[in-house]
């Protein structure tokens, strides 16, 4: 009978050993399930006499940050504090209550030459100010200053530069002619840069934003030309027999890669703007076309049909190493190397529809962003957005989509055939 208590003791001991010891708290993981925009509360405090100017700032900044889809502008009707109250003293509790992740306060005052805009960016949930800055504006550049305010808020919150001061050029196709159109990234300030060409194709910006290289057709003669956006001067850099197409500026702005076919099949060549000489880069059978540079200038990605179907390859300009980038599917064209360098976007045929696709430079981690009759993707300067053309019933429109997903938003009107977008760097 004395055995029983000792057996019981043994049992208790065994059980207590088998239970894992744990510290004073739980340990667990949280997995991001989706990308979500930050709720942005924007208030502009200004004298009532500055109504026009302050609401312009308000609208432009709200539209900029909202269109990035990294922010969702909140309805001012939900705000508990007025702009002037908040500018004097921010009550973080009031902003937490309505769920504002970011509070951006602008204060506008009149100066001798124009206006001063002071900006504060607050984080209500962590009860701290993230940064403050001051901008000056004149009547000429109020809109440009508003874009700078957007850039400031974007950078302060997200730690990456904004793209709101950048520009987009694209080709507008009319009945029988094509125009080159220049606009701000938000679609404002549209200007026709060149008109009445038979055809215009694949424009590309120089890194300093002063030149555009593009494939022009005058009559039926294709050329690669440089347009000086300031002076309007045109300079032909290639008018050989056959194709002269798809120019792409190198990141240092000294060279232009393009496709020429005077020697037979279309091949990639590089033009040195200093020596004014073309140099052959690819020399395989079959077609090699539409080059795009890596941001470090060491690689070129391009489309080639050397394996029988169009695929994306990249070539190291120093070592000559060649790797295949597109690993899936039988049709992949129009590569565009991200300015961040980590991904390459292109058009792929997926399940009988074309898709804007991005992969890492080694071809892994494939992501499909938008499907339809999509073509010619181009990156925003910070690598967060893509602009591309999509056709509906014979008319192409330009769309933008965040590189992480999000939803496509048209930036050109439905009654205009717009294609071949290029985003300034």
């Amino acid at each position: 009978m004395r055995l029983i208590p000792s057996l019981l003791c043994l049992l208790v001991l065994a059980i207590s050993q088998s239970i894992p010891q744990q510290a004073a708290g739980a340990e667990f993981e949280i997995y991001q399930s989706s990308y979500k925009p930050l709720q942005l509360a924007l208030e502009v405090d200004a004298d009532p006499s500055l109504q026009v100017q302050s609401s312009l700032i308000d609208n432009v900044v709200q539209n900029d940050l909202g269109s990035s889809q990294s922010f969702a502008a909140m309805n001012p009707l939900s705000f508990l504090d007025s702009a002037s109250e908040s500018w004097k003293q921010v009550d973080y509790g009031d902003w937490r209550l309505i769920g504002a992740d970011v509070l951006a306060l602008c204060h506008m005052t009149v100066t001798a030459s124009g206006w001063q805009i002071q900006v504060q960016v607050h984080d209500p949930f962590r009860s701290k100010i993230l940064g403050s800055a001051s901008f000056t504006a004149t009547a000429d550049n109020l809109r440009a200053t508003a874009h700078e305010v957007s850039n400031y808020i974007y950078r302060t919150v997200l730690g990456i530069p904004g793209y709101f001061s950048s520009h987009i050029i694209y080709v507008r196709k009319l009945q029988t002619t094509s125009d080159l159109v220049y606009m701000d990234q938000d679609g404002a300030n549209k200007q026709v840069v060149a008109r009445n060409f038979t055809l215009l194709l694949s424009p590309d910006w120089s890194p300093d934003g002063k030149f555009v290289a593009l494939n022009t057709y005058v009559g039926d003669q294709p050329r690669i030309e440089l347009f000086d956006l300031q002076s309007g001067r045109r300079q032909t850099i290639a008018d050989y027999n056959g194709l002269n197409s798809t120019p792409a500026f190198s990141p240092d702005g000294r060279r232009i890669a393009a496709t020429l076919s005077y020697a037979g099949t279309p091949q990639i060549y590089i033009y040195d703007l200093k020596t004014q000489k073309w140099r052959l880069v690819t020399h395989t059978g079959g077609i090699n076309t539409s080059p795009t540079w890596s941001p470090d200038g060491k690689w070129i990605a391009f489309t080639t049909n050397r394996d029988g179907s169009p695929q994306i390859y990249r070539k190291n300009l120093e070592t000559g190493e060649v790797d295949r980038v597109s690993l899936v599917g039988t049709y992949n064209t129009s590569p565009a190397w991200s300015p961040k360098g980590d991904r390459i976007a292109f058009i792929s045929l997926k399940n009988w529809a074309y898709a804007i696709t991005t992969v890492q430079v080694d071809g892994s981690d494939i992501r499909y962003l938008a499907t339809g009759k999509v073509e010619s993707p181009a990156w925003s300067p910070n690598g967060q957005m893509l602009v591309y053309a999509e056709e509906h019933q014979g008319i192409r429109q330009l769309y933008r989509i965040p590189s992480w997903g999000g939803h496509p938003v048209a930036i050109t009107p439905v009654n205009e055939d717009a294609s071949d977008p290029a985003w300034s760097r």
Binding site: Q22, G25, E27, Q32, S33, K36
Partner: protein
């Protein structure tokens, strides 16, 4: 004459028997009625006391304080992989019922995680051995079943995830580790980034998510199990496709 129906008087008059039956029945009725009356009076005299709220706590505040001091910092802890299925919707229950304490433990008893805990009223419980480091949390963890634990963890996971906003494509980042200290009411005592992701904006988003998700629902009695938590955040770029 005795009104009894016994075998001793087998030849009694049957008519007399009827009289006896009546008497017995009357007596029984009287007894029953009498009992009821007495019981009723008894009830009147012993009106029930108003319901008393008896709080049963597992540990006296004094003992709690003492044990906390003894517990100091827990030693290197094995990483507990508590990763339940994501936020399965479950009916909200009250925290697990606490067991009432029974006997006071002997003063010199060696530590046994399964012994009944001292009640509030029991002030005789005195010493806990100093080598029982981290005992408070351990005991409570063991009392809170793993399933219950996972349920509370799932609720925290779901609400923080809902408020965790990553609004841009991230470059290469590490999975940040956050220390989250909670107050008994579920509010946040402190947030500390133990391991940075390498991206300041991403690190900022973690604190914002936790603050937006707070306060959290916690088991009141077993709060210790959630005092000092560690959360590993896994951004989408680091998740296998």
């Amino acid at each position: 004459m005795s009104p009894s129906r016994t075998a001793a008087d087998p030849h009694a008059d049957p008519a007399d028997l009827h009289g006896l039956d009546l008497l017995v029945s009357l007596l029984v009725h009287a007894l029953v009625i009498g009992t009821i009356v007495v019981l009723a009076l008894w009830e009147v005299h012993h009106t029930p006391k108003p319901l008393q709220r008896i709080e049963v706590s597992m540990i006296t505040p004094a003992a709690l304080d003492r044990m906390l001091r003894q517990a100091a910092r827990p030693q290197a802890k094995p990483r507990q992989q508590a990763r339940p299925e994501k936020a399965r919707p479950q009916p909200s229950k009250m925290p697990a019922p606490t067991r009432p304490a029974r006997k006071p433990a002997k003063a010199e008893a060696p530590f046994d995680p399964f012994k009944p805990l001292e009640s509030k009223q029991d002030t005789t419980a005195t010493t806990t051995r100093s080598n029982n480091s981290g005992t408070l949390a351990n005991m409570q963890m063991q009392q809170l079943s793993q399933q219950e634990m996972n349920r509370y963890i799932a609720m925290i996971q779901a609400s923080v995830e809902r408020h965790w906003k990553v609004p841009v494509s991230l470059g290469p980042v590490k999975n940040p580790l956050v220390e989250l200290r909670l107050n008994p009411d579920g509010s946040v005592a402190s947030i500390r980034i133990l391991e940075s992701s390498g991206n300041a904006a991403l690190d900022d988003s973690l604190g914002r998510a936790i603050m937006a998700a707070a306060p959290f629902q916690l088991p009141q009695k077993q709060f210790e199990a959630f005092r000092d938590n560690r959360i590993r955040f896994v951004p989408k770029v680091n998740q296998p496709q």
